[in-house]
């Protein structure tokens, strides 16, 4: 699972699963991905089905529509990651119901793309997701930025495990992403490498997901629940 260059075809085909309840759309996506050299191992229309198929299909990347008929996007992400923590989820949605997008991201999704994106953008986003590089749209950066601010504002008495906080540089990078600058432009403006910008964005997401897991565990312990999904 290696992506040598941005637009290059992966050396070992990346295995992709497409989860969407619109047949025409998901088949078009599957075709585009196959043409771009991806190994589309499963195409399903429902969340439960996706979690059932995933262990056999062993996808590297799951392209997940957040509006599924049976399960919420957050729930699907949670279950997929539970079956295989290495699965990388790229969310897609037509109308970004903001809280859903944020919740799914915190549950472990790696990126978000609007459905109005062009096929080339989708292919690139899948390549980046496969490489573990979060795909942040402007809207997603705004949501993540807002979530850190909210966490900082609510938790004056810090909960055990602490509140995730962004470093000054991370905030700076995230704000620039939210203002529509490309990684290249951000790197130029801050006089750092492209890789550094990528790392900062990755960290902002990583801290949020870690915090989410800690919170969930804490909640489960408090409620005297075990990990029965």
């Amino acid at each position: 699972m290696k992506v040598p260059g941005r637009d290059d075809v992966p050396v070992i085909p990346v295995r992709v699963m497409v989860v969407d309840d619109h047949p025409i759309w998901r088949d078009a996506v599957a075709r585009d991905l196959a043409e771009a050299g991806y190994d589309v191992t499963a195409v399903v229309g429902e969340g439960v089905q996706a979690t059932r198929v995933a262990p056999a299909a062993r996808p590297d990347v799951v392209i997940l529509d957040l509006q599924l008929p049976d399960l919420s996007g957050v729930e699907v992400v949670r279950r997929l990651i539970a079956t295989d923590p290495a699965i990388r989820v790229l969310m897609l949605s037509a109308s970004g119901e903001q809280q859903d997008v944020l919740d799914a991201l915190k549950a472990g999704a790696l990126g978000y793309l609007v459905k109005s994106a062009k096929p080339a953008e989708l292919i690139e986003a899948v390549a980046r997701t496969a490489a573990g590089d979060p795909v942040f749209t402007v809207g997603l950066a705004g949501l993540v930025l807002g979530e850190y601010r909210r966490l900082a504002a609510v938790s004056a008495p810090a909960p055990p495990g602490g509140t995730p906080r962004l470093t000054g540089r991370e905030t700076e990078v995230l704000r620039l992403v939210a203002k529509g600058l490309s990684y290249k432009q951000i790197a130029e403006r801050l006089v750092v490498s492209h890789r550094t910008v990528q790392n900062h964005v990755q960290n902002t997401l990583g801290k949020l997901q870690l915090h989410n897991r800690v919170e969930l565990t804490r909640y489960a312990i408090e409620q005297g629940l075990d990990e029965n999904t």
């Binding site: 809207g139 705004g142 203002k179």
Partner: protein, 393 residues
């Protein structure tokens, strides 16, 4: 707006603090109203009676009269400031001055137009509409000032034309100058109050502003009645006190809604377009609606600027951030930009005017605007407005 009074979003929030604030403001407003109404009864003449001084003696000693009125004013102002705070007081004074200044000429001209019934209501409506339009426009401060000057000029000319006896207007039922005065005065009064109201409203001060305003209007109405009944014109077609009281009730209802909070995300997301991307937090970003309106208008102005100057295929990004002590909105474009060291050039291109209008709006809300641009790197405008303590979540 009525909806806000019933299902006030503040009540849903974790804010026993806020409802207490509201109670305090309403109480202050009511007290302030009672104070000014009782003051209306407390004329210098009654004071003279109370002190056992004859009215004529007081009239002879103008200084004593001034001192008495001054003392009353001082006590009232101090009392009001202590009760409601300085912002409500400033708003109340502005509104009251504008209303009282306008009331007498308006009533005079309404009487002059008594025979042309539809015409006078039409003229009064036209004036009110003009005032509202001005108050809502981008250039409301200069326009309100211009209207005030125009109204004053019209009054001055009417005063001269009636050889210093404006009641003649009412007696002679002169139509055209009366319509002009009516429209201008109503518009000027509305524009001044409307242009200044967002400042106290944003600070949650309107109920307290309306209290003293009610009192002043009642007093103004009382005096206007006296002014008119001096001239032996026709009897008054309506009771000014009742009218002003009704108007105030309506204004009070409207402004309580106007003081409610508004989520900035909705109006900003509505600005999204193929070339405009909007990023916001997932939670509501609330500001008092007066301020929210100003911020959205400033963002619109910034986008207009992008459309006009950044180039045909320029894109824009709007970022809304909810900070602890304020709200920040950035508008960035990837257009041609302009050199910051050459503002004269920008002024020539017409950019500075728009920039000034944006700055003005944000400064009205106690906020700041920063504009950053370099040639070839687009322009970034950042608005920051403070969060008022009562809206802190």
């Amino acid at each position: 707006m009525w909806l806000y009074r019933r299902g006030d979003p503040a009540a849903a929030g974790p804010a026993g603090n806020r409802s207490w604030q509201r109670v305090r403001l309403v109480t202050a407003g009511t007290l302030a109203a009672s104070v000014s109404i009782s003051l209306a009864l407390l004329t210098t003449q009654r004071m003279a009676d109370l002190l056992g001084v004859t009215w004529s003696a007081l009239a002879r000693h103008a200084v004593a009269q001034t001192a008495v009125i001054g003392a009353i004013t001082l006590v009232t102002v101090t009392l009001l400031a202590a009760l409601a705070g300085l912002w409500p007081l400033a708003g109340a004074v502005t509104a009251a001055v504008a209303q009282v200044a306008v009331l007498a000429p308006v009533i005079l001209t309404l009487t002059a137009l008594y025979k042309n019934d539809p015409l006078r209501w039409l003229a009064a409506l036209a004036g009110a509409a003009l005032g509202a339009a001005v108050a809502g426009s981008r250039w409301r401060v200069p326009l309100a000032a211009a209207l005030t000057v125009l109204a004053a000029m019209a009054l001055f000319i009417a005063y001269g034309a009636t050889t210093g006896d404006p009641q003649k207007l009412a007696v002679q039922l002169i139509v055209i100058p009366s319509v002009l005065i009516l429209v201008l005065c109503a518009a000027a009064g509305g524009a001044v109050v409307g242009a200044t109201a967002p400042v106290p409203a944003a600070r949650g001060a309107l109920p307290a502003v309306l209290g003293p305003l009610a009192g002043t209007l009642a007093v103004g109405g009382l005096q206007a009645t006296q002014v008119i009944s001096v001239g032996d014109g026709e009897p008054l077609p309506f009771n000014p006190q009742i009218t002003s009281a009704t108007l105030l009730l309506l204004a009070g209802a409207a402004s309580t809604g106007g003081g409610a909070d508004e989520d900035l995300r909705g109006p900003l997301q509505a600005l999204a377009a193929p070339a405009v991307e909007v990023a916001t937090p997932a939670q509501a970003v609330k500001l008092p609606s007066g301020i929210a309106t100003e911020v959205v208008a400033a963002v619109r102005a910034a986008l207009d600027n992008v459309r006009k100057h950044a180039g045909a295929d320029a894109r824009a990004w709007i970022l809304l951030e909810d900070e602890q002590d304020g709200v920040r909105v950035s508008v960035r474009d990837d257009g041609v930009g302009f050199p910051p060291e050459r503002p004269a050039e920008a002024a020539e291109a017409g950019r500075l005017g728009i920039a000034q209008s944006m700055r003005g709006r944000i400064a009205d809300c106690g906020g700041t605007t920063t504009i950053d641009s370099r040639p070839g790197q687009g322009t970034e405008v950042e608005f920051w407005v403070p969060r008022v303590s009562r809206t802190r979540r």
